[in-house]
Amino acid sequence: MAPAGPRSGDAIFASVERVNAELFTLTYGAIVRQLLTDLEEVEEVNKQLDQMGYNIGIRLIDEFLAKSNVSRCVDFKETAETIAKVGFKMFLGVTASVTNWDADGTCCSIVLEDNPLVDFVELPDTCQGLYYCNILSGVIRGALEMVSMKAEVTWIRDVLRGDDAFELQVKLLKQVPEEYPYKDDE
């Protein structure tokens, strides 16, 4: 069998089982509302959403690698492109693009053209500090950590806050050298 190359996000999305995006959207909305009721502070909700995303990210990376045939990315640029072109498409069915690279190639923006999480959503005045989609940044952070990249992910633009697009800044903090979980002489 010839070695299979990386698959396109579209091809994977077409081949996996899918569910109605509205069930997903409304369920996410229910989660955010529960958090707002339980935690009261918008800041705490942001934190909890990020944590949930992180939990998802560290599990989701396995499925991502198994289904995409993506092998090790040569640099952070390729990593970011893969997240945007394959990752977002494969799980959420949406297209994202990478832009605003800094000079040394360790910081870029992922711009979402479409975001199924925010359908039917309008932020009330009491929730102005809320990063409604903070779960997404957590997912990216968690998934990258599993491939030995420590990254910082922050929202730059958010349509719910009146911007014209969703923009996530992904900043590579460091590449963690791989360590075996055991020592040779043990």
């Binding site: 999305f13 996996v16 089982e17 899918r18 569910v19 109605n20 995006a21 509205e22 069930l23 997903f24 409304l26 369920t27 996410y28 909305g29 229910a30 989660i31 509302r33 529960q34 958090l35 339980d38 909890q48 949930m52 939990n55 998802i56 599990r59 989701l60 499925e63 494969m90 799980f91 959420l92 069915g93 297209t95 994202a96 693009s97 832009t99 711009v111 979402l112 053209e113 479409d114 975001n115 199924p116 359908d119 039917f120 959503v121 309008e122 779960i135 349509v159 014209d164 697009a165 969703f166």
Partner: protein
Amino acid sequence: MIGVGKIKQYSNVLDKPLSKGKQEVSLSAFAFLFSELVQYNQTQVDNIAELERRLEDAGYAVGARVLELLCHRIRLKMEEIVHEHLYALAAYLSTPLLFGNAILGNRRETRLLGILSFVHSTVWKVLFGKVADSLEKGTEHEDEYMISEKELLVNRFISIPKDMGTFNCGAFVAGIVRGVLDSAGFPAVVTAHFVPIEGQQRPRTTILIKFAEEVLRREARLG
């Protein structure tokens, strides 16, 4: 091709045209999200009953919105059809079952069986991509109905640890059903149960609907 400009902005969410509801996400994306919902709620409770109640609350919020969404969408669809087939209107009106007995125009369903079949077919189809396996009337009590599903979407990737006894993630779906029914004016107590099937390893999930007294009284009055 820098991804800008595709998202059109609306000053108000209500100005935004209603989507056709055909968009999809991967099942895993939903499963991951749902699992976080369950795990988070686990950290907030002391016992199984409370956990189920919290999942039901989350589902209720979804159900109430689903009803509203579907009512609007069906009305839009109706208008479209009326425009397209004005000449066939008369013929059309004589087939009011076109939407699976659902809600016609701005009208919501007022009869018990109508709303039940709306949940069992229309709501299920939209949320889970299929009509529910069965809709039955309870044999022992007049006010009980059951919707059963061999493999409920939310239970698919969940295995219940032994120490959690009868816990059923279907509580979330029970909540959705209660949300739809309540918002449509049919208050009910809705619970999810596992029912073993002979020769099958996994039990099916039954959503038990027990209507409030007032609902049955009204139904009797309507004759």
